[in-house]
């Protein structure tokens, strides 16, 4: 059933005046439903401050009189808050350190992997794909034999050429 307009109007008048007690339960129920449905109306009441009657205010003050914290109480509370902030700062740093330590082996492994990948990408193409040609000048700079294997350091192409290290395994027919 739609609430009677005068009924609601009285309810809102009482609400605006901070006189909640002047309303009936039914008016409160209706006003609640309308306010919760109508955002613009709710916004109009948002700035209203429900009145605290002087005798209630006085009794609440009386109630709080013995409970009021002393400056020493507040100082203790602040010290705890401040200490928590300090602990949190330390914990944050500790957590960052633990994360870094936990990731260190993984980071080392990742670095090795990158190194290998980098080397593979930058290494010269396979020997098989090189064109085979005779060198104009070949000079053996060094030759060593160790446990049947032979290594050569060979200079090719004269002054503008390069050096090749050539290893022949033990038992090679060459």
């Amino acid at each position: 059933m739609t609430p009677a307009p005068h009924n609601l109007a009285n309810a809102f008048k009482a609400l605006a005046a901070g006189e909640l007690d002047a309303m009936t339960s039914e008016q409160v129920r209706q006003a609640e439903a309308v306010l919760n449905r109508d955002e613009r109306l709710a916004a109009a009441f948002a700035g209203e401050r429900p009145r605290v009657e002087p005798h209630l205010a006085a009794t609440l003050n009386e109630l709080d009189r013995g409970a009021q914290p002393t400056p020493a109480d507040w100082e203790r509370v602040w010290i705890s808050i401040d200490a928590a902030a300090t602990r949190r700062g330390r914990t944050d740093a500790g957590v960052a350190g633990r994360i870094l330590r936990a990731w260190r082996p993984l980071m080392a492994a990742a670095a090795c992997l990158l190194l290998v990948l980098g080397w593979r990408v930058t290494q010269p193409a396979a020997v098989d794909s090189w064109p085979l040609q005779l060198a104009a000048e070949v000079e053996i700079d060094n030759l060593e034999v160790f446990q049947g294997a032979t290594s050569f350091v060979v200079a090719v192409g004269g002054d503008n050429g390069g050096e090749i290290i050539w290893v022949l395994p033990a038992g090679s027919n060459l």
Binding site: F45, R49, P54, A57, N61
Partner: protein, 218 residues
Amino acid sequence: MNKAAPSIADIPELRLVDQAAGGDRDAQRRLFELHRDAAFHVALRITGRREDALDVVQDGFIRAFERLGEFQRGSSFKTWLLRIISNRALDILRARKVRLAIPLDGDDHEARVQLEDRRGEVAPAADLERAELAVRLRQAIESLPADQRTVFALYATGDLTYGQIAEVLGIPIGTVMSRLYHARRRLHEQLSDLAPLAADVNSSAPSAVHHNDDTVKD
């Protein structure tokens, strides 16, 4: 000529919040000093115990400073803080597993001892009656269901609007009004036998509840 640096008391609240979020202890302390009274009274009204209320304020500020990054600049720091305080106070109530309809025996005893002590002093009758009314009011507040009690606690600070109470609790304004109405009605019913006493108290009452004049403007 060098301009003097502004004192921390002159810094607008939102800037204080930004500084506090960056770990500035002076800004955090200033926010604490500005809002501790309101936080304490809301916590006291919900928990009904002074030591619990102090714990709630402490935990509430610690949580607030930890989560300042989540604070929405569109709302006020006070309503955001009071939301944390209310939730924490309700947590304590739940943890206590207290049936809210039953007054807290320990506290009630403590309050009565204080009252008896004061009866021993030479005090005006009106003071004693006010003290007795206060004890009864506390019992009545403690008998309220948690949702009404929380709305009443915020209302009793005396300086929050319906909109701010709604924002603190995350409920619509109509529901704030309705819960407050029912809370007040229950208190009236429970204290109806003290009506003449309340009227006497009324004649010598101050005009407001708790004022915190030490505020800063955004």
